[in-house]
């Protein structure tokens, strides 16, 4: 199954498989697309993101702008694609600022945009704090700030919203939209279907296979949600949160 939101392909997955975790996934995402990756626990979301970043040995092929991802030299890949892990574990007490500045490693450690990234994630006041003394949500913001500092045109974020408070979560989605409108491709995994509904594109995984991909309004149908997640969709009055 191949799904493509628009014509210009940025990220292409061709029949990508990872032993026991992902089977035969083909997917195209365009430049300037903010895409959500949803699926039940263990459906292969993290694996797909890692394979897309070229971090896992996978069958099939991952291409970025037509080039096979694994053939791109590691340093250059560091400028093109960035991946944010689901868990933010820090053993050593690097300062917040120095971790965000690691995002510039592949650019010769030029520190460009580091302070702006700190600002963007409300981290300027914490810049000198050791990362291993931060809360889970703050750590995650540090990792996202580092990813943004890379200025990579492909941003792969593994459950970036899971640990964040409502305001920062909305802010991350808003940032994803900003990045997408500047031409970057953002693929993030998430569990909040209401948030997924507001994205440009959604990819649905179940049991390591691609179940659906396309515009949220076409994909997130009651029958698919029942099939994949075992939940009943009911529309009606509810609480809506927005950034002021």
């Amino acid at each position: 199954m191949v799904a493509s939101p628009t014509s210009l392909n940025a990220l292409e997955l061709q029949r990508v498989s990872v032993a026991q975790r992902l089977r035969d996934v083909s997917l195209n995402l365009s430049h300037g697309c903010l895409a959500g990756l949803i699926g039940p626990n263990g459906s292969g979301k993290s694996t797909l993101l890692q394979a897309a970043a070229g971090l896992l040995p996978a069958e099939g092929e991952v291409r970025w702008a037509g080039r096979p991802m694994l053939k791109i030299p590691v340093m250059e890949r560091g400028r093109m694609a960035t991946w944010v892990p689901q868990e933010a574990r820090f053993e050593f007490g690097f300062s917040v600022r120095s971790v965000v500045a690691q995002g510039r490693f592949a650019h010769g450690d030029d520190e460009r945009g580091v302070d702006a990234a700190l600002e963007r994630f409300d981290l300027a006041g914490l810049a000198q704090r050791p990362v291993n003394q931060l809360s889970g949500g703050e750590r995650h913001r540090v990792l996202l700030a580092r990813a943004v500092a890379t200025e990579a045109p492909l941003q792969l974020w593994d459950e970036p919203l899971a640990q964040l408070d409502p305001r920062h979560a909305l802010d991350v989605v808003a940032l994803g939209r900003e990045l997408a409108s500047s031409g970057k491709t953002v693929l993030l995994s998430l569990h909040d279907l209401r948030v997924a509904h507001g994205l440009d594109f959604v990819v649905v995984l179940a049991g390591g296979q691609l179940r659906a991909a396309g515009k949220p309004i076409d994909v997130l149908t009651p029958s698919l949600l029942r099939d994949v997640f075992g939940v009943q969709l009911r529309t009606g009055p509810g609480m809506i949160l927005e950034l002021p």
Partner: protein, 325 residues
């Protein structure tokens, strides 16, 4: 937070401390040298002082400096490799392999043939042990497998050493020689030992350029890879350099414990976790620590260097942890 903003004075202070310890180690001993006699000896005007300095004390001092720098540098690299402040250079069986090699050489009586037999046996043992760990772990990428293979091999080699030791209980002389070596020490080091340990200098010099990459690796291998670090290659270098450093240190000084664990830890607490800063600090600090311990071992008399490093290192480490908690 002082842990992340390092004082620019730490490295100069450590260098000054090391220089002071070098001078003190040359001057102090059974044959004490006054400043005037020290100078006369260094300039070869006083033949007796010159002999003491150039034939006895200087080689010992240089070996101590090299061993301290090697163990501390090796420990720093292993801690970044395993993302764990409790990792030590002997984790992958290098030290226990070196010990087993040396102990077998002593027990078999080969060690009496030449001064260099023991160090060479230790280096061979150390390299064989690391090689075995790498082969056993096979899928080089997984640090857990590597760690488990190292633990298993350390136990095995420890058993070999104990077996040899226990089967020579009747041969007092050889047993004493083995124990002496196992507890680590720098007595009677010669220029031969200095030359043998000299590759430590180049291995240590190669650590610094890896510093920035080690920063990234110590926060996660996949993250580092995604930021542009060739993790496979970096890990290969880190393993090779630690193996060389630890094998040579073990070869010329026996097993000297705790240096590789405590010195990097202390400097991380004092100067923060950035490796470009930590590499020179650990090299200088490790050298100063071993030199100070050796000076103490000489002054007390009859106490082995390996015993002193642990006796001082342990309580100091605990005190530092409490203070920083």
């Amino acid at each position: 937070m002082s842990t992340t903003r390092a004082s620019p004075w730490i490295l100069p202070l450590a260098c000054a401390l090391l220089a002071g310890l070098v001078v003190a180690s040359i001057a102090i001993g059974d044959f004490p040298l006054s400043p005037a006699r020290l100078w006369a000896g260094l300039t070869n005007e006083d033949a007796l002082a010159a002999t003491v300095i150039y034939q006895i004390r200087l080689p010992r001092v240089i070996v101590a400096v090299l061993v301290g720098a090697a163990l501390s540098g090796g420990g720093l690299v292993m801690q970044a490799y395993f993302r764990n402040g409790l990792a030590s250079p002997g984790l992958l069986g290098v030290s226990s392999g070196g010990s087993a090699g040396a102990v077998i050489a002593i027990a078999a009586g080969w060690a009496t043939a030449s001064l260099s037999v023991l160090p060479i046996a230790a280096v061979i043992g150390a390299l064989l042990a690391t090689g075995a760990v790498l082969v056993l772990a096979r899928h080089g990428a997984s640090t857990e497998r590597l760690l488990l293979a190292g633990v298993a091999l350390n136990a095995l080699l420890g058993a070999v050493t104990s077996y040899v030791l226990s089967s020579y209980t009747l041969s007092y002389e050889r047993n004493a020689q083995i124990l002496f070596w196992l507890l680590g020490g720098l007595e009677d080091r010669t220029w031969e030992h200095v030359f043998m340990a000299l590759p430590i200098v180049s291995a240590a010099a190669l650590l610094w350029p890896l510093g920035r990459r080690m920063d990234l690796l110590s926060l996660g291998a996949d993250e580092a890879q995604s930021l542009g670090v060739d993790v496979r290659r970096l890990r290969g270098w880190m393993l090779a350099l630690t193996t060389v450093l630890t094998a040579l240190a073990t070869a010329v000084a026996g097993t000297v414990g705790f240096v590789g664990l405590i010195v990097p830890h202390v400097f991380r607490l004092l100067a923060g976790p950035e490796h470009r800063r930590l590499v020179p600090l650990c090299l200088v600090g490790g050298a100063a620590f071993v030199l100070a311990c050796d000076l103490l071992a000489r002054s007390v008399g009859g106490v082995r260097l390996g015993v002193i490093t642990s006796l001082i290192g342990g309580p100091f480490f605990l005190w530092l942890l409490r203070r920083r908690a």
